[in-house]
Amino acid sequence: MFCGSSSAAALAIGILWALGAAAAHADATESLRDDAQRDVAFDHPPQRIITLLPSLTETVCAIGACDRLVATDRYSQWPPQVRSLPKAGGLDDAEVELIVALKPDLVLVSRSQRITDRLAALGIPSFALQTDRYGDIAHTVATIGAILGLKQEAGRLNESIAAGVDRIGAQALLRRHGAEPSVYFEVDRAPYAAGAASFIGELLTRLGARNIVGADLGAFPKLNPEYVVRYNPDVIFISPKDAPALAERPGWDQIRAVKEHRLCSFSSEVDDTIVRPGPRVADGMRAIDDCLARVAP
């Protein structure tokens, strides 16, 4: 009788343990769908991470998992501690051999990079994230938080980003007393413009500026130069290289922004925060707003 009760107890404990283990296991195996519509399963939060896009690098570090990074792409320069990490190639030409040699648990890529198939064939898990618009920032932060098991930190980061953006936006609108300066943001001298539908355009709209290139023209249209002359923007955002030659373009010397020298140029470090959606979006907005405050009429 003593043997019977102890064996029953052992059996019960055994079953309970098995169920508990199964439950714990079920919690840890998450399956997330990435932005390339693939389902990626994680047994445990990855510890060795390679990022192939600067904004993803920044996001991982901003959440607090910078020590888990083993390599980045060659353009990732922020935060300063990632500069010493090995560089695994550029945006289109990742060095697959280096990636394989580092034995990562996860490679974070952008949706437009085509390396995911190659990595899958080599048995390396990868996760694609879309980073084109303002709304993608929060989604990327939350997803990376979920992957890394740092959901709380991700939530806090998102809140602080949103708070920063809203604050700067409110200050800008307040300062301008409702005036909307018309702006033209030139991305290339062709001229390629950043329209209202692009990320840069979204930032400008939040700051209360009116983009002469509306959302109907697409994100980065190649304009007829006459268009800019016709719409006569108050402020022109242009790269420092092209700024001196603006007045030489036929008819452009009559544009208000050129005549009154209301030009905004950014260094390449600041440019990174403006051109690519990432956790430092508030810094980028501040840079734009500072310039607008300086030169807008």
Partner: protein
């Protein structure tokens, strides 16, 4: 003499005047089309047609700028650039005695692209030796690159005597310089977008300065070419025959290649690499009027000018206010024309 009067009355000068009257008609048509296109260019742009018409009759300051400082020099510049390309194409087809020759045969396109790449790279880097290249600007860099490519081709083929050598050397130089350009672009992919604009051609920033430069170079190239036209006629009979008629082949080729280089390099510097105009313009002239080289060297520039003007108009109008690269438009039209030629040839056979 008992011969019928029509037979003996067929005097040689009389025959010439019939074909030259056909040529005059063709010239008149070309000039009319050019005038119409110029007018249309003034009206077409980012504004609607009614607005533009309103501008023509009662322009305010801003619309006056758009009409006379942007639209008019752009269309005039496009005409001269097209004329230069048409002239260069006719000369190339005459010198190489090949109807498929185009102005970029001697590697000019690749040389210009390399020049632009170096200039764009130099503007960014702090390598002291290249700083001057950055200051040159895209226009001068493209021009110098094109001329350097031609010089390289002539050096490689050891002079202008052998046409086959020249063609081969031109192909080699084109490939070589393209490879170097690609390698340089890899080091700094950010300038790829600017390169693409250059490679596809753009008439966007043609000012009065550009238009005048193009016009001056056109005159400088046109006059010697028209004078040398008869030499091209003689050359079309065969090299030995041309020599026996008293032609100095090396001098003729050198002079014509000089004209070709200057015309192509200038056009490429101002509007980028625009294909098919140099190839199609002489073809069109031959199809409709079928002429000797003097008439070809007059007709091809007129045709080329009108072609590029039309392409510029289309590139501005189709997706307004955005703009297509003008080289893409000429490629579509030129490609379609060549397909049509092939179809007609196979139908005749």
């Amino acid at each position: 003499m008992s011969a019928p009067p029509t037979f003996l009355g067929l005097s040689v000068p009389g025959i010439e005047s019939r074909s030259s009257s056909r040529m005059l008609l063709w010239l008149a048509v070309c000039l009319t089309i050019t005038m119409l296109l110029t007018g249309a260019s003034l009206i077409v742009g980012t504004s609607s047609i009614e607005t533009s018409l309103g501008w023509l009759f009662a322009p305010d300051a801003q619309s006056s700028i758009i009409l006379w400082q942007i639209r008019l020099p752009r269309t005039v510049g496009a005409w001269f650039a097209g004329a230069l390309l048409g002239l260069a194409g006719a000369v190339a087809q005459g010198v190489f005695r090949n109807r498929l020759a185009d102005p970029y045969l001697l590697g000019t396109a690749s040389g210009a692209a390399l020049g632009v790449t170096i200039s764009l790279l130099a503007a960014d880097t702090s390598i002291a030796g290249l700083a001057w290249a950055g200051k040159l600007g895209v226009t001068a860099a493209a021009c110098i690159g094109a001329c350097a490519a031609i010089a390289l081709t002539i050096m490689l083929s050891r002079g202008v005597l052998q046409t086959a050598n020249l063609l081969l050397a031109g192909i080699v130089v084109a490939f070589l310089l393209s490879a170097v350009t690609s390698l340089l672009l890899l080091t700094k992919p950010e300038i790829w977008r600017t390169m693409q604009v250059f490679l596809l051609g753009s008439t966007g920033y043609l000012s009065w300065t550009s238009a005048c430069l193009l016009g001056a170079v056109f005159l400088i190239c046109f006059v010697p070419a028209a004078l040398l036209a008869r030499g091209l006629d003689a050359l079309s009979l065969g090299e030995d025959t041309a020599q026996s008629l008293g032609l100095s082949l090396p001098m003729l080729r050198l002079a014509l290649l000089g004209v070709l280089s200057l015309a192509t390099a200038t056009a490429v510097g101002q509007v980028g690499i625009v294909g098919f105009v140099g190839l199609v313009a002489p073809h069109l002239v031959r199809e409709t009027v079928s002429v000797n080289h003097r008439q070809l060297l007059i007709g091809a520039p007129l045709c080329g000018g009108a072609l590029l003007q039309a392409a510029d108009l289309v590139s501005r109008w189709i997706i307004r206010p955005a703009e297509l690269p003008v080289g893409a438009v000429t490629a579509c039209v030129g490609g379609a024309y060549l397909v049509f030629l092939l179809w007609r040839k196979s139908r005749d056979e």
